[in-house]
């Protein structure tokens, strides 16, 4: 799949490839090829360093973007998969198990969007059912029991708007995961590798260290849905994406996440190895840093981290309120 704004890049690539075919030993063409290659690099840089928030959403959703499996393979020396919620179902939208990352035994889990039509459908395009949230909850409890950190790879459009998911209490299931992550006395590291949609994402990224890939996003609602509710026009998703501040840059600026992981020019799908490598290094570093802390200190720091997030003006601040509202408790 080629995204709209990727067209110029793809055009250059096609012309270069065509010239290579014609070139043989024709030296005149070699020059033209070099010229085009320079133009390609320039176009890549121009386009990919100036992506709009909505374009990043499109990159985050790219079907060829590396998925859970790719990161799992890059991260884990071994991955010992576990299945099921122990209640009656196994949701393939959430995968997890024991793994070893940079010498640390961990519980590794994430949303799995699947890799082809069949697995994409089976995993409901990465939208977990209640059973998936409960599988995650079971893995959190396992991490606590074994005293190993949790590493979560977030990649979901969000919770699923479906009858069964409601009948089986998806809100209750998400809430239970949040409560479990809030108190679990082991380090929790989360990386948003693609889509970070709503409560479905949060159920895996209430964490001690949250990293985001450069072209991932984290949002309370899909930009299309936000546009259709607030602007009453789903087509204004571009604006909504802009307005909600959902990119890694914005979230870092607002003190919500800890780290942005750069993607190769052209996005993770153009050079998966570079992206998975970046995630692996970041996770290892975070685990090493957190492994020095006592469980109580980790839970306390996690409490304080989330407890302070808010953009409210307390009574005292209002009298002589500055032109720029002081974002209560954010940052420092």
């Amino acid at each position: 799949m080629i995204l709209d704004f990727e067209k110029p890049i793809k055009d250059f690539e096609a012309r270069i490839s065509e010239l290579h075919r014609l070139a043989g030993s024709n030296e005149g063409l070699q020059e033209e090829i070099s010229r085009l290659e320079a133009a390609l690099e320039a176009a890549k840089k121009r386009i990919y360093t100036n992506l709009t928030p909505y374009q990043r959403v499109q990159v985050a959703r790219h079907p060829e973007r590396p998925n859970f499996r790719a990161y799992r393979d890059a991260l884990a020396d071994d991955f010992y998969e576990l299945s099921g919620d122990r209640l009656g179902a196994d949701d393939p939208a959430v995968r997890g198990g024991l793994a070893r990352i940079g010498g640390h035994p961990v519980v590794l889990l994430g949303h799995d969007k699947g890799a082809d039509v069949k697995t994409r459908v089976a995993s409901n395009f990465g939208m977990a059912h209640p059973e998936g949230y409960r599988k995650a909850g079971r893995l959190y409890a396992l991490a606590e029991r074994l005293g190993v950190p949790i590493v979560a790879l977030v990649d979901t459009p969000g919770a699923f708007a479906g009858r069964g998911a409601e009948e089986r209490g998806q809100a209750w299931a998400i809430s239970a995961d949040l409560m479990e992550l809030a108190r679990v006395p082991v380090p929790v590291v989360a990386v948003v590798i693609g889509e970070g949609g709503s409560g479905g994402a949060l159920a895996m990224c209430l964490a001690d260290h949250v990293a985001m890939l450069e072209n991932s996003y984290l949002s309370v609602i899909a930009p299309e849905a936000c546009a259709s509710i607030i602007f009453r026009d789903a087509k204004r998703a571009v604006e909504a994406a802009e307005a909600m501040k959902i990119t890694a840059d914005d979230l870092l600026a607002h003190g919500i996440i800890d780290e942005i992981l750069p993607e190769p020019l052209g996005g993770a799908h153009n050079e998966p190895g570079a992206a998975t490598e970046a995630v692996a290094r970041a996770v290892e570093a975070a685990l090493s840093k957190l492994s020095d802390s006592e469980p109580e200190a980790i839970v306390k720091a996690r409490y304080e981290r989330y407890r302070r997030i808010g953009a409210h003006l307390s009574a005292g601040e209002i009298g002589g309120a500055p032109a720029e509202p002081s974002l209560g408790g954010v940052g420092e």
Binding site: A161, A171, S175, A182, S219, I309, H312, A315, G328
Partner: protein, 266 residues
């Protein structure tokens, strides 16, 4: 725009018509019954101040954290105007009231949401006041009562609204590490981030009759899945049948129900 608190349009300033049963209702009757239709017992929305009046022993409520106002962290088009209009309409700072009260003589920390204020959406103020209520209850060893009524997250605050789920969860998690009880009361409607965080993680979940409760709304589900939903989908009764709600309690019996519960544990 509805001109009574119940959301019903007044016909002549004295009478209104029940949208559920069609009967004319004397407006003063509706108010004295806390917006429950005297003919069909339909529960209309109840403001946060009236909710407190319904539940708290007379004169026992003491507000906390009043005067806290929403910032506009995203500079979101139209948010300031929405806030100003909601404040004017409701006389509230935001979609929640919080403080302490006595219920049947039992001291509690209490928070009540107000659906009239931008659909009871959870932004930073709601998250902060709910969290402070939990912290206060934890510190003081008080039972916690939260009445929810919310369309979900306040999108205008972008990721801040999402993060209020995390904030209230860490606050609630600490509260739940103590041994005082937490009762969550769900009024029509309760959806989205509120249901998926503090509103369902309670020791006891009470819902008002016919209150609609869920994560995604029925309309969204129907448009996403093209599926016809069954009669009564997501009502309190439906959710109780599905093991997600403990009790369905008529609004006019709610105070007594809480008194019984608190009395059992004291």
């Amino acid at each position: 725009m509805p001109d009574t608190e119940s959301g019903l349009a007044s016909t002549d300033g004295v009478f209104t018509k029940c949208e559920s049963c069609g009967e004319p209702i004397y407006e003063k009757d509706l108010a004295s019954r806390f917006n429950v239709c005297p003919h069909c017992e339909f529960h209309y929305p109840l403001s946060a101040p009236d909710r407190v009046r319904l539940l708290a022993d007379a004169g026992s409520f003491q507000g906390r954290d009043d005067g806290m106002l929403a910032g506009d962290p995203m500079g979101f088009e139209g948010y300031e105007e929405k806030l100003a209009a909601a404040r004017k309409k409701t006389g509230l700072d935001d979609a929640v009231l919080s403080g302490t009260a006595r219920i049947g003589g039992h001291g509690v920390a209490i928070a009540a949401m107000d659906f009239r204020f931008i659909g009871g959406s959870m932004g930073s103020v709601v998250g902060e006041r709910i969290s402070r209520t939990m912290e206060f209850a934890y510190d003081e060893g008080l039972p916690l009562v939260v009445v929810s009524s919310s369309g979900g997250a306040r999108m205008f605050e972008g990721v801040y609204s999402l993060m209020q789920m995390a904030k209230t969860s860490v606050a609630l998690s600490r509260y739940m590490s103590g041994s005082m009880p937490y009762v969550s009361i769900l009024a029509d409607p309760t959806f989205g981030g509120v249901t998926a965080s503090f509103a369902t993680a309670a020791d006891v979940v009470i819902a008002e009759p016919k209150a609609r409760i869920g994560f995604a709304g029925a309309r969204v589900i129907e448009s996403t899945t093209k599926e016809r939903l069954p009669e009564g989908f997501q009502t309190a009764e439906f959710q109780k049948e599905h093991g997600l709600v403990d009790r369905i309690v008529h609004r006019l019996a709610l105070k007594n129900d809480l008194e019984r519960f608190l009395g059992l544990l004291s």
